[in-house]
């Protein structure tokens, strides 16, 4: 299944899922912005939301760049959701978790499948990682973790030993208690939605199609209720 690269002797097995894929986050971000602008959207940067008010079925987001009013509002603000959700009667349990990744120089195309912890982008760079660390909002990197990530990649594919790293970073995930996405509408403030997932890249297709239709047209996809944050509520004891 990987005809263009030698697999290390320490690899004793693997699993395969035909539905796995890779979304290039840089191209995704650009595509989302272009699509949004083409549909008439306006992107405003540097507008930190300080308050959300709800009057006459309209929401007003008070921001550092002025007020914006609309009949619907979607919280898709990563960890900013923790501050914003109570303003519209939503309860969204999320916590930070750090992941570290390594990026190599570009090399010829060798990996034709995306693999957990080792994948190659369309332009040739390899991405290794990651970690799952509970250390708050610290987005730094550690030598012990990056060296372990690199060693693991070389164990998988020994030919990568000579490939040089050009970047590494730590990034803070937005995780729910069961690591699955939350898509929810406020019961007390209808028209206020929340969408959060780790990650918005991995779930790009669900966010761009299913979740967008659910919010814009009110069409609830089958089994979408599963993603309500109410799943975390403990049932009352009998």
């Amino acid at each position: 299944m990987l005809p263009n690269i030698r697999i290390g002797n320490e690899v004793v097995g693997a699993s395969f899922c035909p539905d796995d894929g890779h979304v290039n986050p840089l191209r995704l971000l650009r595509a989302l912005h272009r699509g949004f602008l083409r549909l008439g959207g306006q992107y405003r940067s540097c507008c930190e939301v300080v308050n959300i008010s709800h009057e006459y079925h309209r929401f007003t987001a008070e921001t550092s760049g002025g007020n914006f009013t609309a009949p619907k509002i979607v919280l898709a603000a990563g960890h900013g959701i923790s501050t914003l959700a109570p303003m519209v009667g939503l309860r969204v349990p999320i916590r930070p978790q750090r992941g570290q990744v390594l990026i190599t120089e570009r090399i010829e195309a060798r990996l034709n499948l995306p693999i957990t912890d080792v994948r190659q982008t369309d332009e040739g760079g390899l991405q290794f990682g990651t970690t799952e660390e509970d250390i708050g909002f610290n987005d730094g990197t550690t030598l012990i973790d990056t060296s372990r990530i690199a060693r693991r990649a070389v164990q998988f594919f020994p030919q990568l030993a000579s490939v040089r790293l050009v970047r590494n970073w730590g990034c803070v995930r937005v995780l729910t208690p069961d690591k699955c996405a939350i898509y929810d509408e406020s019961e007390s403030h209808p028209g206020a939605f929340v969408a959060t997932s780790h990650s918005g890249v991995t779930l790009a297709a669900a966010n761009a199609y299913r979740a967008a239709e659910w919010i814009a047209d009110g069409v609830t996809p089958p089994d979408f209720g599963t993603f309500s944050a109410r799943r975390f509520d403990v049932p009352a004891a009998a």
Partner: protein, 96 residues
């Protein structure tokens, strides 16, 4: 186009088989610009010719094969006597 400000004692490096006399404090990128090199690599994706640009290690447009090691940043690498420098021709190949 580029000219050296000062004359200095020179050492020899090899660029694509050609011997160049360069100053020992120069980076490979600076030495090649002073020599008038037109391009120092071609890109992995489109094959477009590129030359050193930022000269401070950020843009990665100066990647070259230096002493047999591909994709090295010529602007971050100081010349050494006898150094062999080649253009980075497209994407790096992986050893068999």
């Amino acid at each position: 186009m580029f000219r050296r400000l000062h004359d200095a004692a020179k050492i020899a490096i090899e660029f694509e088989g050609r011997i160049l006399q360069v100053a020992p404090h120069e980076t490979v990128a600076a030495a090649l610009l002073a020599d008038g090199a037109e391009h120092t690599r071609t890109t992995p994706v489109t094959g477009a010719p590129r030359a050193p640009y930022c000269m401070m290690g950020v843009c990665f447009d100066c990647l070259m094969e230096i002493d047999g090691i591909p994709n090295r940043q010529a602007c971050m690498t100081r010349v050494q006597d006898g150094m062999k420098v080649r253009r980075q021709d497209g994407v790096r190949r992986l050893e068999p």
